[in-house]
Symmetry: C2
Subunit: 139 residues, 2 copies
């Protein structure tokens, strides 16, 4: 279930997205995609890069995250105001959101069944359906 992607995939992914494989994008792609799926903020990823001695500016991290998202390599998840998470899992799935800690956890798509959904308003089409189960610690 937890798929691990080969390290060398990073360059392929970036290229395949139609983006120039710059040092920064490749380094970020490795950080994002080489291990298991994850949920990161721009600030977090920037911090990781820094601690791995990879010089990247925060602005470039933001650029890369958005470019990767546009390319379908990432999915942006909004659960709290003022902070965006980027999810390396772009398959059909949903999320637990731990309100106490601010953590996200994937829920595989098949664990949620939407038995009934309304028609999209006329003139629109469904881009995606987000299900967020907000949980908190038992008091």
């Amino acid at each position: 279930m937890t798929q691990t992607r080969p390290y060398s995939d990073a360059i392929e992914r970036v290229k395949h997205a139609g983006l120039r494989p710059t040092r920064q994008r490749l380094a970020l792609a490795r950080l994002l995609f080489q291990g298991r799926d994850r949920h990161v903020t721009a600030e977090q990823l920037h911090g990781e890069a820094k601690s791995e001695e990879i010089p990247v500016s925060l602005a470039t991290v933001y650029n890369a995250l958005h470019q990767f998202t546009r390319a379908g390599l990432l999915r942006e998840v909004v659960v709290e105001p003022g902070r965006s998470y980027f999810d390396t899992n772009v398959d059909d799935h949903h999320h637990f959101y731990f309100e106490d800690s601010g953590q996200l956890q994937d829920i595989p798509g098949e664990e949620v069944r939407l038995a009934r959904l309304p028609e999209p308003p006329s003139g629109t089409r469904v881009d995606r359906v987000d299900v967020i189960i907000r949980v908190r610690e038992n008091g």
Copy 2:
């Protein structure tokens, strides 16, 4: 379906929430609750107050929105980074989000059926389940 609440309710709501019925809170409560259900941002509500000659500071609007939310009079809806919407409909329901315009639209609870949901992680309880159907205009 679209319930209209009496104007005089505002003061009751505020008092019932355990909040002092100050001029500002009452005015905001009227703007929020006297008509049909709505989705507003702090900035919007502040603008409305201003155009109705109701002097309220933006900080107070934020305070009131959060106090009302804590009291169960409002529900905060997060659909895009950096902006919070406050929904006067606190019944069980979900949302369409129009990605092009940034508008929200309620979906009555019964129009979505969650046939299967995973158990909350041990040690946690479900606070609420948000379903957001993101739609965009047909290209």
